[in-house]
């Protein structure tokens, strides 16, 4: 006969044996990695800088997804769709210009994703040039950054993956000057999807980088939306500020997607109002009637580029990335073949190759974590980035939080960003 122990397991906790076995063989995050400090936080969770305890002692960025809480009790509530995407897609891809996922550790109801570490990102580089150096990014660096970005994007597209959230904060750069596209939390495999893309996520891409077909309410979209975002990023690198800095109209109480009037006006102001000749499909767009009510603008991209990207071919690349008709917009493949990349200065694999050492953007700063969960004891991390100004904001909508107990807390990233004009959509931080 079965004893009480067995019966109770069978009836109340049928996975007990399995769980015990698994938990016994589990190696915890803190046993594998030394958490050096806290980098940033966002809606998804928090990012830490960590060093592995193995011989190489490699530096990593560990992204800890927030565990869901029901009241005060942390409970399993299922892995979020974005975590599933990021885990699934990262297992399939491997490319020099994409942030590599080293491992996923599932522990204590939280998901830890261990990524390769990148010292910089586009947003930080832009900020460094606009605030510290007060000088534009050099032509050689600009071209290298854009080239590698497109190279990474081409890889994603050839794997049938849409990134859907390209923006400066998501594009990282290693200390060796290699670009790494990060944050695949919104990325999707578009090969024979079972659901239309629109059905899953109503809104994709941060508003300033959102392609016109999305703003016009298109239900179907293609990899051309990523190419538009590349155009926006390239323009931002060249001018050190977002080219189409519109205000986002928020979802109404019924979660309907509103007409993004201001963002479209910002685009039309530079590129002119699209007509049927530029974009035959525009008349079929859901928001076409709303668009017709807007003022009419002429295209002045050439003027815009004149002072910012002096090279004619640079202007031509941007012009083609900003073609309204998604069918005709430059693809990543064609963009990589563009003449601009063939003329001097040629793009380099170390994007900072031509930059004097003292002008290279500062290292990402790390702070003591407010949340006690990952940081066991106060550690001496003050040699990291001491004396530098800005914190870095990797992995999407994130924002540095000032450290609370740390000596250099006073000069941490938050304040610097507020003055640098962080977009409203990124402001998730509670300062102080």
């Amino acid at each position: 006969m079965l004893d009480e122990w067995s019966t109770s397991i069978l009836n109340h906790d049928p996975m007990k044996l399995y769980r015990a076995k698994r938990d016994a063989s589990h190696r915890s995050v803190t046993s594998k990695y030394n958490i050096l400090g806290f980098i940033s936080s966002g809606t998804y969770g928090r990012v830490y800088k960590a060093q592995s305890y193995d011989e190489e002692g490699t530096i990593h960025a560990i992204k800890k997804f927030k565990p869901d809480k029901e009241g005060d009790v942390v409970a399993y509530t299922g892995i979020s769709q974005s975590a599933v995407r990021e885990i699934a897609l990262n297992r399939e891809i491997n490319h020099e210009n994409i942030v590599a996922l080293k491992e996923v550790i599932l522990e204590d109801k939280s998901i830890y994703m261990v990524f390769e570490y990148a010292e910089h990102d586009f947003l930080q580089v832009i900020h460094h040039h606009s605030q510290t150096l007060r000088a534009p990014i050099s032509h050689a660096v600009l071209k290298s950054l854009v080239y590698q970005l497109i190279n990474g994007l081409l890889y994603l597209h050839s794997c049938h993956i849409l990134h859907r959230d390209l923006k400066p904060a998501n594009i990282l750069i290693t200390s060796k000057g290699v670009i790494k596209i990060g944050d695949l939390g919104l990325a999707r495999l578009v090969y024979e999807p079972l659901q239309p893309l629109f059905a899953g996520d109503k809104v994709v891409v941060t508003i300033w980088y959102r392609a016109p077909e999305l703003l016009m309410g298109a239900k179907h979209y293609t990899r051309a939306i990523d190419c538009w975002a590349v155009g926006c990023v390239m323009a931002e690198l060249a001018s050190l500020r977002p080219i189409f800095k519109g205000d986002e109209a928020k979802l109404d109480s019924k979660k309907n997607v509103p007409f993004q009037r201001d963002q479209l006006l910002k685009i039309f102001d530079v590129l002119g109002t699209p007509d049927e000749k530029d974009w035959p499909g525009v008349v079929d767009m859901p928001e076409y009637q709303s668009m017709k009510r807007l003022d009419h603008f002429a295209n002045r991209l050439s003027d815009w580029c004149h002072s910012r990207i002096r090279a004619t071919q640079g202007y031509d690349l941007l012009r083609q990335l900003f073609i309204y008709d998604p069918e005709r917009r430059l693809t990543a493949k064609d963009a990589l073949q563009h003449k601009w990349f063939q003329e001097e200065p040629k793009p380099t694999w170390n994007a900072f190759q031509s930059v004097p050492q003292h002008q290279i953007p500062p290292h990402r700063r790390i702070t003591q974590d407010e949340a006690p969960s990952m940081m066991p004891a106060p550690q001496n991390t003050s040699h990291q980035g001491h004396g530098h100004i800005a914190g870095a904001v990797p992995f999407g909508q994130s924002h540095s939080k000032p450290g609370s107990s740390n000596s250099f807390a006073s000069q941490s990233g938050g304040a610097a960003y507020a003055s640098g004009g962080a977009p409203p959509s990124r402001k998730k931080a509670r300062l102080g």
Binding site: L2, D3, W5, S6, I9, L10, N11, H12, P14, M15, K16, L17, Y18, R19, A20, K21, R22, D23, A24, A75, Y76, T77, G78, I79, Q81, V84, I87, A88, L89, N90, R91, E92, V104, L106, K109, H160, R188, L189, V190, Y191, E192, P193, L194, Q195, P196, L197, G200, H220, Y221, T222, R223, A224, P326, E327, T331
Partner: protein, 415 residues
Amino acid sequence: MVDRATLAQARYDDLQYVDDPECLDFLAIYFANLITKLGKKLQFRQRVIATATVFFRRFYLKNSYCETDPFTVIAACCYLAAKAEESPIHIKVIVAESRAMFSQENYNVKNFSSDNSKIAEMEFYLVDDLEGDLIVFHPYRTLLSLCRKESGTHASSSNSEEGEADEGPGVGIEDGPRYWGTGEGQLELTSAALQTAWSIINDTYRSQLCLLHPPHLIAIASIYLTFILHPPARPDAAHTLDQDHANESSPEHPTPARQPRRSSRQANHAPSHTTSPKKPQDPIAFLADLNVSLPLVASIAQEIISLYTLWDRYKEDVSPEASKLARELTNSPMSSGASPLKRTGSRSESGLASTSGGGTPSAENRDDTVDPEGNYITPAFLSSVLQRMREAKLMDMAPRPVAVNKRLERTLAAG
């Protein structure tokens, strides 16, 4: 992909606790059926069901049935597969539907928890055991890329309750030309034949085939079996199929004539076929051009047939299509195994059967496939087998692990 040794190793522990090793194969069918049924209830697309089944099989490469609760695992697999295939559903729905289904009398699973967090916790361990490999490739894609519906037969899309061949490759939002955009080099099949191939692929998930062979070979094996059920219209092409097969395994035996059987099959399945063969296509050349190992394809086909033989003894609410396929395939000349000697024997037999049986071969074939003892394996029986396995395992574990578990709990509480 794994080999049979790995597969055997994975079941080693279970074998200690089961009387008849064959039960494990039936459990494999049983669990896959449960996943399919649960998936249907949740209105999953076929691909989601297939992905969930692959997750389940991969999980049990590392774990044993007797140490786990397969019903919890099934629910977690479905939950995760829905997300991995970008058609998520709420965890509450999964838990409620699973609970409702598993507690039905014929499954007799009483202890399925209504606690969402149990499934969510299982999902965690599942992702870990799957090592994050959540994107699964299925034979359906190969099938639809190699074959297309014969033009002119679109209207006659048959009842597709089991499969979804009619749905085509999902929502076509792909920009740019597809790899095979022109349809050039695709094999035309009648819609009935395409449906058959699709259903055969569905059925392969009842076995471990999806772990042993790459999806494209399973697809090709299914197309191959479809040729047997829906022989191509041109007699010479059909003849080459036989010839080719005969050459493969038994070159010294010339192929006996099987035209009578063929024509009766053809009448059953593909009435439209004879009227529309305007573009002659040679299926053998087609298969040969695929640059895959045909003997390997044949052996996969063989494994599919043995699955049908086994499945025929399993009784749930048996899908009529499945048992029909089982009968037809088990009675086809291929079924008798790779040995050339046995092959010849079976051929003449089936030749006889078809001549004497006239137009109704399936009625006759029945006798061959029913278990000699007339025993059908039922879900309730399998549930009780599983329950016994689990109890036995716990009995073995009970004395020592109490201490182990206490220690574990202490460490958990401390950490």
